[in-house]
Homo-oligomer: 459 residues x 2
Amino acid sequence: MLAFIALLAAPPYSPDVAARLVGGALTDGVTYARVAELSDGIGPRLSGSPAAEAAVKWALQRFRDDGLDVHAEPVKVPHWVRGEERAEVLPARGRAGHPLAVTALGGSPATPAGGATADVVEVRSIAELQALGEKARGKLVFFNHSMSTAGGKTGYGEASPLRNRGPAEAAKLGAAGALVRSLATASLRDPHTGATTFEDGAPKVPAAAVAVEDAELLHRLLERGPVRVRLGLGCRTLPDADSANVVADVRGREKPDEVVLLGAHLDSWDLGQGAVDDAAGVAVVMEAARLIAQLPQRPRRTVRAVLFMNEENGLAGGKAYAQAHAAEAERHVAALESDAGAGRPLSVGLRAGEGAQALLAPWLQPLETLGAADFGGEAGGADIGPLAAFRVPFVGVQQDVSRYFDYHHSAADTLDKVRPGDLAQTAAAVAWVAYALAEMPQALPRPAAPAGRPAGGRP
Amino acid sequence: MLAFIALLAAPPYSPDVAARLVGGALTDGVTYARVAELSDGIGPRLSGSPAAEAAVKWALQRFRDDGLDVHAEPVKVPHWVRGEERAEVLPARGRAGHPLAVTALGGSPATPAGGATADVVEVRSIAELQALGEKARGKLVFFNHSMSTAGGKTGYGEASPLRNRGPAEAAKLGAAGALVRSLATASLRDPHTGATTFEDGAPKVPAAAVAVEDAELLHRLLERGPVRVRLGLGCRTLPDADSANVVADVRGREKPDEVVLLGAHLDSWDLGQGAVDDAAGVAVVMEAARLIAQLPQRPRRTVRAVLFMNEENGLAGGKAYAQAHAAEAERHVAALESDAGAGRPLSVGLRAGEGAQALLAPWLQPLETLGAADFGGEAGGADIGPLAAFRVPFVGVQQDVSRYFDYHHSAADTLDKVRPGDLAQTAAAVAWVAYALAEMPQALPRPAAPAGRPAGGRP
């Protein structure tokens, strides 16, 4: 009976606007078409590449086509390029050698000419590595983990420090290099890349991801005796390149200085097409802004689409945006990042002050039929992370990520992995949530205190 | 009540022998250990390679260890070697170029230096290709199909002629080359190789498999306009090499001249470890023969394990065996080939004369608990195919192949895909069926007439 009464009570929003936004996303085909433009038309877009610059130009043009106020904001980005890459287990007494499916981690230096050849030592955590101490010197440190067998939870959060920080820690101990088991929930011998980080001036070592199968092989062989591997990586870091964030506004009708930021990232890894990560998010954000711009009446506040550059290997775009917009950061009433693939929407996440949920809840009714009106999951994002320092409330449309890490950062991140209907539902949810945040009379309360550390994302 | 009576009736076999064979396979760990020896110890074993010869030596030694009468029988095998391989969609007006994940098909010639560059034309059948006629001249013929979306049925049988015969048909029309969508039920951008066949003296063209994702890309791009691809293959065919089948007997106690043949193939494709295809089958056959040899009393007839060479790209081993043993082929009372991966047993297949099923049925009771005692599925095998001409009855232990074509002929055919418990059940079933065939008083009736064409397998 309560539910029935709730339905009869006048909603705080215009049902017509809800129908236009959700219906538009689910029927116009634009979201998927734009993922295809980025994936098939432009291809992979690693920071500093010509394709990344083509993506910037494309985004400027498309936002103009959509009637938004758009401009590029300059960002200096790291310019890392992949070269030839190969690795092999050398033959040993009583067994053959084996090729290893590897791919360099972003930020890795090259191996010496002829490759780095060394015995392998296996660890399952950075603590285990540190306990090795001198025994890691001159070795190839193999970071193993069990992400792919973690079941319902992906395990990415637990395993990703091995890739992000493991090689740097190995370098400090004088290792010859690092091999990191791919962060993947499925594998057909395809390695998954990703960034690894070395502090300025600290020692570096060549670092590569190995496919899950090859991690299993190394583990089996190490159970039987010493394993010697030759790793050859031709990657290198060129001087920083000029690039840009693309910022497009739908100016608010009453409070144009108050901003609801919708973010996604234009750059991608180089192995696949960057369709799932993050052409999908880019297209969702563009579609939300486009549909809102087409409404008969714009919302009270400004909806701003920001397509960040360099999310994958440096976060230069996210940092540059927060720096350039520090003066108006207090007037950012919410930030939402779309960087979790092309799955359907499941719930709405919040990271805001007390009372935010109660304030937003009545506005989520139009997402009930899509099954996305409940609160749950973590709101955040790598690019919007720096805005946490300004107490900007984070809102997230949580998506089905059950297949996300099957493809993430691998050659298999291609357009065929995007189901248009699932993606359109997420575009509908983001469009509606963005509209709600821009239209509700009172903005969300801000989080109590700046977080010590930016909220989690998936760099 | 009938079932209860059936249980009480004395079985035609010794329950103790059944328990020893099934229990041995399920507890001794030997089957999986031997898959590991072949996969991790020797690695991929393409005909003509040093690893293939190492596998022959290994098999001879292991059969000797097991106390069998073993010898090698010489076979001349094709010696095809893979070289560098790459392909790319060239950039076109309004879109970027794209790398393609490709791998040469076994038997393909190399491309000219600098690659074969041509426009792509898509067909979905050989009939469609032939309808193109002159329009195929100078083109790269792209054979597309829908195997990966065929659902419950794998679709391998329908799609494999495109790989086997498509390139030869394209060559006859003056094509520049052939690209064949991988025959795969799952894909993470990994191409699946396999043999393609050109008749002696007929024209040849370079032929490669493309990953499922890249087939989808070609299809999408072709919907929008012309697509030009550069294909570079460095593969080549060397002079035929000397190799061998390995033949090991457990001589029968009463009718040693009557032979129950258990076959599998020692060679494998070169991309993965050949763990599923066919180290699993090799280990199953070895385990069945080994357990039977250890029985207190051997069965009436001879159980013969034959590890064939060159199943994958020529069938030289299967042909050589049938030729060398033509004189005793009439005394081959049954042949069973184990070449369907490492899945658990599901049923028993038959290809024999009338009354065979009734004769064998009472002997299958010990497989009931494993769920493998019913009749069903096709019995056959590529290596034993030539024995069909001699009316040898074929018997098969049908396995769960639901994941088989996820890995088949790809780099992902690695040891981690083998579940020891599933494989052990299949070894148990093969051991018991082989024993039954060798022990039953009356041999299976032979098929009525020689088949016009060898029974199906999976070359």
